[in-house]
């Protein structure tokens, strides 16, 4: 055990170099910076939006439109006695994005049920916030529509609430999970849970690739520079060598995972404008709790254990692949199968429900140890602890088998003689 920690200390010292630490901090900085910028920009855009209204009619009906728009929190720049081009030019100058033109004869056409045509000009200066901009136009037009239809209905059916004519029934949606039920919409529940868990596979993907590349590169470097030969001739068990390398890289991966998790969560919250923690978020949280779609400490522990063994599985595969590397350059090519192994369940889990796909595909996906981490969170939400435990047991079994294989590999000639022949045949010495 003493030699294990001696080796771990050396491995950590080797791993903690500016070359590994700077990219880690740079990524964190990037997430925080992007979160700040996008959050601030989003806040600016979603704050009181301005809209220009050119009234070419100047009647009671058209003059009422700005007030309707003010009611839905739009800041109205009203224009009349000018041209459309002039208003667009002025709006552009004021960095506005939407111009509504109320045509001449607007009130007259309304009265004659002739469908007056409102022109909406969207000034597009980029695609980043185009959706938000489209939302402003849509909101403006919907609120004008609402107001005018109310008036039309009131005039056509006096004494009746126009709302009853528009929506003759109310809807109360419920979501049922197992034997629990909550009054909320399915779309909201799905959106909330996705927002809470979507970053787990992303972080897992980044961390696994990072740690696996690091450990495979470390082994390839030791092999290429013959430092491995010194270690193999030292009084240390081969499995201790393998486990120490994995433990050090695993520790680094865990720290990276935690750092990425917090920075990514910060980024997500900045981008969504803290929607999850707002008033709507509180109501949603209540419904989610009622449905039992929250992780209790046991759930979090199981999720953590599953993630940890996923990382270990990736590391032990990377150690084995690293042993094949002829030099550092060949590491990237060797890591590719591992990346595909991680990508398959990641992509499939995004688009398919693994539990309902064909048995062959399902078993292929479940044979990949990382799938169990991707599936752990949804399974835990639905209280399927057994599936998560089976997944962890599979990950442990996979890890144990590969540690044995890696240990055997490091104990045999193959660690020095086995080379992946990507470019040329090796020359035996």
């Amino acid at each position: 055990m003493r030699k294990f920690f001696v080796l771990v200390r050396k491995e950590i010292r080797e791993l903690l170099t500016p070359q590994t630490i700077i990219p880690l901090f740079f990524t964190v900085f990037l997430f925080l910076f992007m979160g700040q910028v996008i959050g601030a920009e989003g806040e600016r855009m979603s704050a009181r939006q301005s809209i220009s209204v050119l009234d070419l009619d100047m009647t009671t009906a058209s003059k009422a439109v700005p007030a309707v728009l003010e009611q839905v929190n739009l800041e109205v720049e009203a224009y009349h006695d000018t041209s459309v081009d002039a208003v667009i030019k002025a709006t552009k100058k004021a960095r506005g994005t939407v111009v509504l033109v109320l045509p001449e004869g607007f009130e007259k056409d309304l009265a004659a049920s002739k469908l007056p045509q409102i022109e909406a000009y969207n000034i597009l200066s980029g695609f980043s916030f185009a959706r938000l901009q489209a939302g402003v136009t849509g909101l403006a037009l919907a609120s004008i529509n609402e107001s005018l239809s109310d008036k039309v209905m009131t005039s056509m059916v006096p004494g009746t609430d126009p709302q009853i004519l528009k929506n003759p029934f109310k809807v109360k949606e419920y979501v049922i999970v197992g034997d629990k039920m909550a009054a909320t919409s399915l779309a909201e529940v799905t959106g909330f849970v996705m927002a809470q868990t979507t970053f787990i596979p992303i972080i897992l993907f980044i961390v696994i690739i990072l740690a696996a590349t690091m450990i495979a590169t470390a082994i390839a470097t030791e092999k290429e520079n013959k430092m491995l030969e010194t270690l193999l001739s030292a009084p240390v068990r081969r499995t201790t060598l393998v486990l120490a390398k994995m433990f050090a890289a695993g520790m680094f991966a865990l720290v990276a995972a935690v750092v990425y998790l917090f920075s990514f969560r910060y980024y997500m919250e900045s981008v969504t404008g803290g929607a999850l923690s707002g008033t709507g978020g509180a109501a949603m949280s209540q419904a989610i709790r009622e449905l039992g779609l929250v992780l209790n400490p046991a759930g979090y522990t199981l999720l953590g254990v599953s993630l940890f063994f996923s990382i270990l599985c990736a590391l032990v595969i990377a150690v084995t692949l690293g042993a094949f590397a002829e030099d550092v350059k060949s590491v990237q090519a060797l890591i590719t199968p591992l990346m595909i192994m991680i990508l398959v369940p990641y992509v499939l889990a995004m688009f398919l429900d693994i539990n309902t796909v064909s048995p062959v595909l399902r078993y292929i996906v479940l044979a990949i140890p990382f799938s169990h981490s991707f599936l752990a969170a949804p399974n835990l939400f639905f209280g399927d602890y057994r599936a998560v435990l089976y997944g962890i047991a599979y990950e442990i079994a996979f890890f144990t088998v590969f540690v044995y294989i890696a240990g055997r590999l490091f104990s045999s000639d193959k660690i020095l003689t086995m080379k992946l022949r990507i470019r040329k045949r090796p020359v035996l010495k």
Binding site: R2, K3, V6, L7, R9, K10, R13, E14, T17, T221, E224, N225, K226, M227, E229, T230, L232, S233, A234, P235, V236, R237, S412, D413, L416, T417, L428, K429
Partner: protein
């Protein structure tokens, strides 16, 4: 004299390629024994087998009476191996690297300090030991690695081309260190292309080519036997 290393009918195949075809030799206590031969002769394979890094196909190798297959872990405690043109952990300081290796060989702090003291004397790098190894010259790196290999005062030091690629001064310093250590009790098995170096350094020489040892003796014995002026001529005669 007792044999520190005994090699009997050692064979090593890589697939169908026979790297070693049954070689036998002994290294005596405090002896410097050299394997000389061209590239691909089987020198490095022999050294790696004795260093317990490779597994023999057949044959018996014993280090201080311990079988390299049966007692590999115990063998590793009494040997040290310096690979040809071995690299270093460039991000570690020389001092940390030596401490790391010392800790692998002993759990006793006092013993570790003893190893370090010996290593500092061999490396002779002064304050540069506190610098990262990545900043060392080739000569400094080789001296550090030799210090690492000898600091534990192993029963058998296995040195593959110890002065390869070094300038005259550094090569001379390393040769002197090896000789001093052999005198104090460490037997040395080394390999080299440099026949003149071998003639100067070694007590006995084995001439190896194509996985076979052709002859063993002291430099003088071999030169007399083959009526040659130096080991280069001996080798040319034997290999013919």
């Amino acid at each position: 004299m007792n044999d520190v290393l005994s090699v009997k009918d050692l064979k090593k195949n890589y697939g169908r390629f026979e790297a070693l075809r049954g070689i036998s030799f002994e290294v005596r206590d405090k002896e410097i024994f050299a394997l000389i031969g061209p590239n691909g002769a089987g020198k490095t394979t022999t050294l790696r087998l004795i260093a317990t890094i490779l597994q023999p196909t057949s044959g018996i190798v014993k280090v201080a009476g311990l079988d390299i297959k049966e007692d590999a872990e115990k063998v590793r405690e009494i040997i040290s191996y310096l690979p040809e043109e071995a690299g270093v952990y460039k991000n570690l300081t020389g001092e940390y690297y030596l401490r790391f290796i010392a800790a692998l060989f002993s759990g006793d702090k006092k013993e570790q300090e003893g190893y370090l003291e010996t290593a500092r004397g061999i490396a002779n790098l002064g304050e540069r030991l506190g610098n990262k190894i990545g900043t060392y010259s080739k000569g400094m790196t080789r001296k550090l690695l030799l210090a690492r290999a000898l600091m534990t005062k192993p029963k058998l030091a296995i040195l593959d081309e110890p002065t390869s690629g070094l300038d005259v001064i550094n090569a001379l310093e390393i040769r002197n260190t090896i000789r001093e250590f052999a005198r104090t009790g460490t037997s040395v098995l080394l390999s080299s292309h440099n026949m003149l170096e071998i003639e100067y350094l070694s007590d006995r020489v084995a001439i190896i080519d194509k996985g076979t040892i052709h002859d063993i003796g002291t430099s003088d014995e071999l030169k007399a036997k083959y009526d040659s002026a130096n080991l280069e001529e001996v080798f040319a005669e034997v290999a013919r």
